[in-house]
């Protein structure tokens, strides 16, 4: 079975922030960018992908996930647990994008297999710059699993 890596999943309960992330990334990427509002929706979106696999051997998974920790229904940590457990989502780089700066949460997130923890800046301009840098870091500077 091979994992076909396509698209980016943004898990973000703040729609405006989701929009900013999507808009900024889509300046550089042609990927299909999906925004979901909470953990439940993320699980649903991913299981949808599992169900609608192109062939028996292949499954399409996002190349990268950005994750907000404080969300309704299923919060970021619960979701992280599920993502890191599942064979098909294990290897997807996960970037936490949140406004929480609590040291314990940062430690916990890394312990649970987060690849990057980024705190959302206060104003829009810096927020945009941060997303730009995330793009440069993850898609130009680093290597992530490819098809």
């Amino acid at each position: 079975m091979t994992v076909i890596r396509r698209g980016i999943l943004i898990i973000e309960d703040n729609m405006t922030d989701g929009l900013v992330i999507k808009r900024t990334l889509s300046k550089h990427l042609t990927d299909d960018i999906t925004i979901v509002r909470d953990g439940m929706q993320a699980i649903n979106a991913l299981s949808e992908k599992l169900k609608s696999r192109p062939s028996k051997e292949d499954v399409v998974m996002p190349r990268l996930i950005t994750l907000d920790l404080n969300m309704p229904k299923m919060n970021g940590f619960e979701l992280l647990d599920r993502l890191r457990e599942h064979e098909d989502t294990k290897s997807i780089p996960i970037i936490v994008l949140t406004s929480s700066q609590i040291p314990d949460e940062i430690t916990r997130a890394y312990q649970m297999g987060v690849n990057n923890y980024v705190v959302k800046p206060t104003d829009h301009e810096k927020f945009e710059q941060t997303i730009e840098q995330i793009y440069h870091y993850w898609f130009e500077f680093s290597r992530i699993p490819e098809d």
């Binding site: 405006t16 922030d17 929009l19 104003d123 829009h124």
Partner: protein, 606 residues
């Protein structure tokens, strides 16, 4: 009965046995033994009395008791003279040569008792005195009747007179002894007075017997009257000894008014001696600890009241102070426990009475205050958390507004007219101002919120870092920041960096000069450093010197000089967190000088 009487009674019984028992065996040195005893008892009475009075008495009592101590001296002398006159075997009932000394002793005793009266007057109730007087008068009448009516006509004038004189003295002593003993029982004072009463009663019996035997011509030395006299001496000797044990009672013999001040003082207070024995405890102390005075005075040592974990350290400290010889009062926060075992958080002050080993211990109950303090701390924390949460949660929608406004401007610029675009610009500016305000609030709420570690920081390096962070701004304003040879200090690095950054940028910002300069110097004080940040800026009018440190307080419009007005409030809060102070000296138009201090050895915590 005072507890100390229990301890003196056995001594008296032993002495009594020494006096009486040998006569049951008819031994050959009877005369010598009795002579030794009759001399030895008053002699040791004097020694014991002197030692006790000097060491244990308070000043007021020394005046009266001091005289009393000298009574045994003439008695001892009289006994020697008596023994000498008896050596030839002739029995001589009365002889002026030794009677003078006996009487001198009694005279001293009476004078002492009269002198003690002003001190003890407060204790002696009129009723007690009346009863004492009654008993004395009945005894006087009975004895007088007996002796005056003795054998009708054939009276030995000399013996009669002498017996009468002795009895008069005895009765005088009896009156005082009765009155004072009454007070003793009532007020749990010194048992000395009870022993004095025993002494008087025995002496009266002995004198009466002596008189009768002398009149009858049946008097023989080394028999019953002698034994009785010795027993009386023994009682008084024990009486003096009993002073050793009743320091607390003696202390209470001080002028009643002073004792009442102590007893009714609002602060729980005890007095203790060098061996930690509690000598006195006042009513407040009883109320606070639940112990009754009699359970404490003479029965307890004060460290027993201190919680075990505090006990050792305070004793060590007091011990060290004693070794150094300092007599300064010492105040410590100690945990005490009451009789029922509940804890008392209290501030305890130890005051040392000069030239004695006595300590006055005053206790202030802090339990209520501690509770309030904790409550206040909790409310403060809540408030800080609230500020933090609120400002934190405000940030997100603000960012959203600014994002949307930016996109609106970017995507729909062409569709809006000039007015619309200007409004959008104003919207973005307002949001950015508010965002800055919220950031400042957040910073302010973070100071002292998390316990940032203190570290030893070279202030030169720290300012260098600050200048690195703001180098663009400094260059842009053509400013110069001068500093050299600043010390190393124990600080929370991030926050002190913020202090210097705010002060330096303020100095450059509020500055009209073509080349703004900021000078940083310091002064080394004993316990703190004083840093001085001087600029050549626009200065601060006198009336705003305190106002500028208030939150969101601005002297100038945002158009003139930007900023939120939180900078100096943040600086002040950080300095306060370092147990320092901040103030400004300035004249309008000639620059400002900010001074702030940092405690040298403060490393955070309470």
């Amino acid at each position: 009965m005072p507890h100390s009487a229990k301890k003196t009674l056995p001594i008296f019984l032993i002495l009594l046995a020494l006096i009486i028992l040998p006569y049951q065996f008819n031994f050959s040195y009877e005369a010598l033994y009795t002579d030794a005893l009759t001399f030895g008892l008053p002699f040791f009475m004097f020694i014991a009395g002197y030692v006790v009075i000097v060491n244990y008495s308070v000043r007021a009592l020394k005046r009266s008791m001091g005289i009393l101590v000298f009574a045994p001296i003439p008695w001892a002398l009289a006994e020697v003279l008596w023994a000498l006159t008896n050596n030839d075997g002739e029995v001589l009932a009365y002889s002026l040569s030794f009677d003078v000394f006996y009487l001198l002793g009694f005279a001293i005793l009476v004078v002492a008792l009269v002198t003690a009266y002003p001190v003890l007057r407060q204790y002696v109730k009129a009723r007690a005195q009346a009863i004492a007087l009654c008993i004395t008068m009945i005894a006087t009448v009975a004895l007088g009747y007996y002796f005056l009516g003795y054998r009708g006509e054939s009276i030995d004038g000399q013996t009669m007179r002498m017996t009468a004189i002795y009895l008069v003295f005895d009765l005088a002593v009896l009156f005082f002894a009765l009155s004072y003993t009454w007070a003793t029982i009532k007020h749990r004072l010194s048992p000395f007075w009870a022993w004095l009463l025993v002494f008087t009663l025995v002496t009266i019996a002995a004198d009466t017997l002596y008189g009768i035997r002398a009149l009858e011509g049946t008097y023989a030395p080394y028999a019953l009257p002698s034994m009785l006299f010795n027993a009386a001496y023994a009682a008084l000797l024990v009486g003096f000894l009993s002073f050793v044990d009743v320091r607390s009672a003696l202390l209470r013999d001080v002028d009643e008014r002073y004792y009442e001040i102590f007893n009714h003082s609002g602060a729980p207070t005890i007095m203790a001696d060098g061996a930690h024995n509690v000598l006195l405890a006042n009513q407040q102390f009883e109320q606070m600890t639940g112990y009754e005075e009699k359970e404490v005075t003479g029965e307890m040592k004060w460290p027993e009241l201190v919680d075990a974990k505090d006990r050792k350290s305070i004793l060590l400290l007091l011990n060290r102070m004693e070794n150094v010889g300092t007599k300064k009062p010492l105040t410590r926060e100690l945990n005490l426990h009451t009789k029922d075992g509940s804890a008392l958080c209290s501030s305890v002050t130890f005051s040392f009475i000069p030239e004695t080993d006595l300590i006055v211990i005053t206790i202030f109950d802090l339990t209520e205050r501690k509770k309030l303090e904790n409550e206040l701390k909790r409310i403060n924390e809540d408030l800080q958390n609230f500020t933090f949460t609120v400002s934190h949660d405000l940030k997100e929608p603000l960012r959203n507004i600014s994002s949307l406004a930016t996109y609106l401007k970017r995507d729909y610029q062409d569709k809006l007219d000039d007015m619309g675009n200007e409004f959008l610009d104003m919207l973005v500016n307002s949001v950015s101002t508010m965002s800055q305000l919220v950031d400042d609030l957040l910073t302010l709420s973070r100071i002292g919120r998390k316990n940032v570690d203190f570290s030893f920081v070279d202030i030169n390096n720290l300012i260098n870092e600050v200048l690195g962070d703001i180098q663009n701004y400094v260059k842009e304003r053509n400013a110069e920041v001068r500093y050299e040879n600043l010390p190393k200090a124990m600080v929370q690095k991030t926050w002190i960096k913020q202090v210097f950054q705010n002060l330096i940028t303020n100095g450059i910002k509020f500055n009209d000069s073509p080349q703004p300069t900021v000078d940083i110097t310091y002064k080394d004080h004993n316990f703190f450093y004083e840093f001085i940040v001087r600029d050549n800026g626009i200065g601060i009018p006198q009336e705003y010197k305190d106002k500028i440190f208030k939150l969101f307080e601005r002297l100038h419009s945002t158009e003139e000089y930007g900023g939120t007005g939180a900078g100096l409030a943040i600086v002040k809060k950080i300095v306060k967190e370092h147990r320092g102070d901040i103030w400004v000296e300035s004249e309008e138009g000639s620059g400002s000088t900010f001074h702030f201090t940092i405690e040298k050895f403060f490393i955070g915590g309470e």
